[in-house]
Symmetry: C6
Subunit: 270 residues, 6 copies
C-alpha cells in the first residue's frame, strides 16, 4: 500500500505505451531528434500529447523527465538548487539539468504557463549551442547528442499575456495534434477500457456533439480522455447516462443550461 | 484541556459519520476510486461535501488528508519541504505526498482558491501516470492503488480569474452536490441536534426562503450547517428568533435592509 | 520603567473588565461557546468589541489570545514556524495553535483585513471537525472543548476585495454591536474617566452630531473611545473645546470644511 | 572623521532643542502623555514636527526612537526579529519593541506611507491594553506608563490608497501643525542661522509667495526648513538670488515655467 | 552519453564560427572594443546576433559569457551571491563579475527583458569608470582593458514597459542587424546543412514571402534559423512540404487561416 | 588581465578629473557641504553629473561612494545586512552606512528609480539630525561633518509614479545641470579624445540638431558622452558617417523614419 519511488533519470518506460499515430508525427520527431532540434507539441487537452511523449521515449529508449509548467515555476526549479546537508551545501539538479546531464528527454508540459525566466533558460539549450549555464555552480553543461528538449502547449488557451515569444518559438520544430478521427478514437476507447464497440462509438459521437459546442458556451469539447473515464465507469456498472454526466458533462462545465443541453445529448444516445 | 495530537496519515475515522445520500454519489465515487480516477465535488458551502468525504473515507477505510486551499498555498505546501534539524536537512512530506506515499485520500477543499502551481502539481497524479515528481528530492512517487485524489469547489463563486483550467477539469470525474430535499434536511437537522421535528421543519422552511433571495440581495442562502447552528442555540435555551438572527441572518449578510427582511421572515415562522 | 512580559496562554484577566451589555450578546456568546460554535463580532470601531471579548474571557476564565489582522498576516503567523536554536530547529506555536493547544480563546480582530490564507486556515477549526492541521509538523491538533474561536470586523469598511467569503461566514454565530444608547454611553464615559455627568452627556450629544454626519463628509462618527479620550484631557485641565478638537474632531477627519463644521458643533455645546 | 554610534534607547537629548510653540501643542501632548494616550501629529513637510518631538522628548526626559515609515516597512521591522549568532538565534528588538521595553517615545514619521501591517501592529498598543504581542517570541509586552506612542503624517498627501483607517485614527489624540506666523518664522530663521533680520524677513515673504502658488502649479510651498537652507548658503557667501534658486526654487519644482515665475519673485525681493 | 562540463571563463571557442558579415559590424565592434566602449546589438530573432558574438569572441580570443535576460533576472544573478559551504559562506561570482574579473566578454541577450535593476547594475561598467561595485563584498572591481560588455535586443518587441532607458542606451555603441540578402542567406543555409542550392534558394524565397506577412497577421517572418531547421529535416528524408510546415509555418503562428495561407505558399514552391 | 579590487571607502580619486564648470555649481556645492546640507543634482543623461561628482570628491579629498538606484534597491542594500561566516553572522555595511561611518560622499544616482523605502531611509540623514538608524544592529550612526549626501535625477523622466516626494525634495539644495554651451562642448570632446577641432565642432552641431528633435520623435537628444564615443570611433579609423550612425543615431532611437532623418543630418555635416 506504499508508493514506489524512482530516480527520474533511471525511470525507463519498459512496455510499449499504446499510441495510434494520426499523421507523420513519429517520423518528424525522430528526424528532429537525430538533428538535435527541439520539438514543440501543440494541441488541445487530453488528445494524447503526453501519451505520444511516453511512446517516443520508449522508442528512443531514453528516460522521459516531464515538468508540468505553471506560473510559479522558477528557473531554479528547472535548473537546480543548493540544499544544506550535514552543514555543507549539496547541489541538486533540477529536472532540466538532470535531463541534460544524463542525456534524457526533458518534456515541459504547458510551457506557456511558465514564467518568462523559465522559457528563457531554455534558449541556449534550444539552439545549436545546446548548453545549459548553471550560474550558481559557475558551470556550463554541454548537452550530449542523446539529450532532447520537447515542450507542449494548447494554442486555444493562448492569451496575450501568455504568448510564446517569437525568439522562443523560432527555435523549435512544431507538431500539431488534434482529436483522432472517429473510427480511430472509438478504437482507442475500446483498447483502453475493454468496452464493447457500440458503446465506444456512441461515446465518440457524444464527444463530437460537445466539440461542436466549443465557442458556443463550452470552452472546450470532451477529450478522448473523458471518453475513457466514462467507459471505465460504465464497465464498473454505473448507468451509461449517469456515467456521461459525471465523467463528461460535469467535467466540462458548471453552467446549468449548458449542462441541461448536454444531458439531453447523452439521453438521445443511451 | 490540552489538544489531542495525531499524524494525519494514521488518523482513521472510527465511527461512521452520519451522512444521508442525495443521489448516486456514493456509488459513483466508489466506481471512480476502484478505477483509480480522481473525483471533483461541486456544490455550495455547507451542503455536506466535507461530511461526504469523511463518510467515504470511513467506508473505504483510508485516512483522509484534507487541505483547505487558498491564494498563498504553494506547491511546496502540498508536496513537502526540507527542514533543518541537528545541522542536517530533513525532508517533511506535505499532505499530498503524505497521501500518495501511504495510500490515503487527499482532499483539496476549494481548489479554485489555490494558485496555479498547486493545480498543476496534481496533473501527473490525476491522469493514468499517477506519479508525483518531488523535484527537491529528485524522486518520482508512483501512487499505490489505494491512493485517491479528490477536490471540491463552489461553482457559484467561480470568477474568470479563479476558473479551473480545462486541462485540470478534464482529468476528474465530477459529482454535483446541492442542499438536501426539505424532508431529508429536516431529518438531518433533527439528527444532528436532537431538536424536535416541528422546529427543524420551520428552520428548513426559513432556509428555503433565504435561498430564494439568492441573487436578489443575498450572495448565498442559508446552508444546512447554519440550520444546525440555530437549532443548537435553541437547544441551549436561546429564543428561536434571536437564534435565527445570530446563527442565520447575521451570518448571511451585513446589509441592513436585507437583514430586516430576513428578520421578518423568521418572525413569521417562530 | 521596564515593560512587564507574559506568555499569552497564561495571561488570565484577573479583574472583571467593566462592560455594559447592550443586548443578549453575553447569553448568545456563552451558548455558542458551550456548543463549540465559533463567534463573529460585527460593529464599528471603538464601540466596545475588544472590551466585550476581555469581559467574556474573564467570565469563562480562559486566556484571551488576540491577533490584529492585516494584509500581510500569513498562515504561518497564525499557526507557527520553526526557528533555529543551537543548530536545531525549534517549533514555535503561533497564536492560533497556542490557543488550540491550551484551550484558550483566539480572537482575530478585523479579520477581513487578513489575506485569504488566514481566513482559510481557520475553516477546519470552525466546523465540527475542530482540527488544526499543522502541515510543517505533520500534525493534526484536535481542539479541546475549552478552545474557542472568535473574530471581528467592521461591516462599514467591507469592500468587494475584502469581503468575507460565504464559506467562511457560514461557519460562525454572528453578533452585531453598535454604539450604546445615550444614557448608557454617558454612564460609560463617566465610569471610565470620573468626569461629571453634565460633561459626559454633552460629549455624547456631540458624538451623536458627528454620527449624523456619517456619509455626509465623515467616514465614521466619533466612537465611545474618543469621548473617553476627550474626557480624560478635560480631567487633566485641557479646555473642553480644545480637548474636543484634538481628541475628537482632528481624530475624525482632515477635511478643513468638515473640521470647521465640527468645531462649531463643539462650540455650541461647551 | 568616524561616525559616533549610539544605542537608540540610551540616546537622550541633552540640550534643549530650540522650539517656538504655535499653540497649545505642548500642553495637549503632555496631558495625553500623562493619560497614556497616543498622539498623532498632522502637518506639511518641514514645518517643525520632528523638532517638536525632539523638544518633547527633552522635556519628558525620555529617549526618542524615530522610525521613518515607508511602503516596505514590515511589522518585523518594527517589532524585531531573530538573528543567527554563534549557531544560535538571538532576538533583536525592533524600534517599537525597544521603546515599549524601555519606556521610551516611539515616533512613527509619515505613518500613512507604512503598509497596513505596520499600522495594525500598533493597535493593541494604542488603546487601553497598551500591549505589544511579539508573536515570534510568544511574548506579550505590557508598556510601562513612561512608554509613549506618537506618529505623524501630512494630510495634504493623503490618497485613497494611503489613508489612515478610522480604526487607527480613532485611537489617537491629534495635533495640527502649520507654518509659523511671519514674525515667528523670521525669528526662527534668524535663530537657526544667525542671518540678519532684514534678510530673514525677505525670505519669509518669499516663502509666503510660494505658498500662495500651492495648488496653482506647486505641489507644496517652501517650508521653514528651506528658508534655513537659503539663509545658510547666504551666510556662506552665496549670492542671495542664487541661494534662493538652489535652496528654494529648484527644491520645490522641476517645471521650467514655474521656476521662471519663482525666480522673478526672488529677484523682486533681493 | 553524459554532458560535458566547463567553467564559463575558460570556455574559449576553438574553431572559427561560420559567420558572413553583412556590413561594417566587425570593424565597428573591434574599434569599440579597443576604445573600451560597450556595444549594443539590435535586430530580429534568429538573424545571427548570437553567432556574431561567438565569431567576435573567437577573433578577440576572449571567453564569451552569455546571459539570457528575463523578467526575474536579479542583480544578484549577474553580480554573484554568497553560498554556504562547510559552515562558512563562500562568494560565487555571477556571470557579469566573472567576465569583469577575468577580462572576458559579457553578452546580455535580450536585455529589455531584464528588470530595471539589471540594466542599472551595468551603468558604472558602461561608462568610463568601468567599475563593478559588489556591495555584498564591499568591493569595487575595476575592469581590465580586455573586459567587454555587449548586449542585444529586438527593437520590434520593444514595448513601453520594456523600453531601454536613455540613460542606458546612451552608454553604448549600437549595431543594427537584419536578415542577410537572399544570395547570402541561401549560401548560409547551404553551408550550415549541406542542402543543394536549388532547395536553399526556394527556402529563402519562402522565408521572404513570410517576412512580407509581418504586420499582416504574422508577428515575425521566418528567420534564417528556421530555414536551417527545414533544410535539416529535408536532409533527413522528410518531405519538403511537411518539413516547411513543421519547421517553419507551425513555428511561426497558431492561427488557422494564417497557417493555411503559408501552407499554400510552400506548396507553390515545392 | 585580471580586474583590480578596492574597498570603496578607501578608493580616493588621485588625479583631477577633467571638468569644465557651467555656472556656480562648484561654489554652491562647497557651501552646502560646509553647512552639512545634502545636494540634489538635476539634469539629462550624459551631461556630466557623474563627472562633476568625481571632480567634487577629488576637490574635497573624500571617497566617493556611488549607488545606481533602481526599482529593486532595498533599504538593506543601502544600509547593510548580516552575512553568515564561520557559523556567526557578520554585519556588512551597505554603501550608505559605509559613507556615514567613514565620512565619505554618498552619491545616489537616479534616485527617482529607487523604491520609496530607499528615499525614506535617507530622511534622518538629510535634515539636521544627520543620523542613520541601523535597526538590525540596534544602532544610531551620527554622521561626522565630513559625511555628505548627494543624489541625482533626470527631471525629464519624472513620471507621476516616480516623483520625488516634497518631504524628500525639501531637504536638499538643488543644482540644475544641462549640456554645455557649444564652444565649451567642442572643447570637452577635443580634450577627451584628442580629435581635431573641426570635427568636434561638427559633432556638437550634429548633437544640437538631435536635441532640437527632442519631443518631436526623440525622447532625448545626443549627450556629450555620445559625441565622445563617436569621436573615439573616428580616431580609431571608422568613417565619420558610420561612427555617427553607430555611436549616436542608433544609440538614440530604433524608429526607422527618425533614423533616416538623423542619418541625413549627419550626412549633411560629414
Amino acid at each position: 500500500m506504499e508508493a514506489r519511488v524512482f530516480k527520474p533519470e533511471s525511470y525507463l518506460i519498459e512496455n510499449e505505451p499504446y499510441y495510434e499515430p494520426i499523421g507523420a508525427e513519429i517520423e518528424i520527431f525522430e528526424a528532429a531528434y537525430h538533428n538535435q532540434l527541439p520539438v514543440l507539441l501543440k494541441g488541445p487537452t487530453g488528445c494524447g500529447k503526453t501519451r505520444f511523449m511516453e511512446h517516443i521515449a520508449w522508442r528512443l529508449k531514453r528516460p522521459l523527465i516531464t515538468v508540468s509548467c505553471h506560473d510559479d515555476l522558477t528557473a531554479s526549479d528547472l535548473v537546480g538548487r543548493f540544499l544544506i546537508s550535514g552543514g555543507n551545501t549539496v547541489w541538486v539538479d533540477g529536472p532540466l539539468a538532470r535531463a541534460v546531464r544524463h542525456g534524457g528527454i526533458c518534456y515541459l508540459d504547458e510551457i506557456v504557463e511558465a514564467r518568462k525566466d523559465t522559457t528563457v533558460v531554455i534558449h541556449p539549450l534550444a539552439d545549436d549551442r545546446r548548453v545549459l549555464p548553471i550560474e550558481k555552480l559557475g558551470e556550463l553543461l554541454v548537452g550530449p547528442p542523446e539529450f532532447c528538449l520537447a515542450m507542449s502547449y494548447n494554442p486555444g488557451y493562448q492569451s496575450v499575456l501568455k504568448d510564446l515569444k517569437q525568439s522562443t518559438r523560432q527555435r523549435f520544430v512544431a507538431l500539431e495534434f488534434d482529436y483522432p478521427a472517429p473510427d480511430l478514437e472509438a478504437k482507442i476507447v475500446h483498447n483502453e477500457t475493454g468496452i464493447e464497440g457500440g458503446i465506444s462509438e456512441k461515446l465518440v459521437k457524444f464527444a463530437q456533439m460537445t466539440r461542436n459546442l466549443k465557442g458556443n458556451g463550452l470552452e472546450e469539447g470532451a477529450s478522448t480522455r473523458l471518453l475513457v473515464h466514462a467507459a471505465k465507469l460504465i464497465m464498473s456498472g454505473v448507468n451509461a447516462n449517469i456515467a456521461c454526466r459525471s465523467a463528461i458533462a460535469q467535467a466540462l462545465t458548471d453552467d446549468d443550461e449548458m449542462l441541461a443541453a448536454i444531458y439531453e445529448l447523452s439521453a438521445s444516445l443511451f
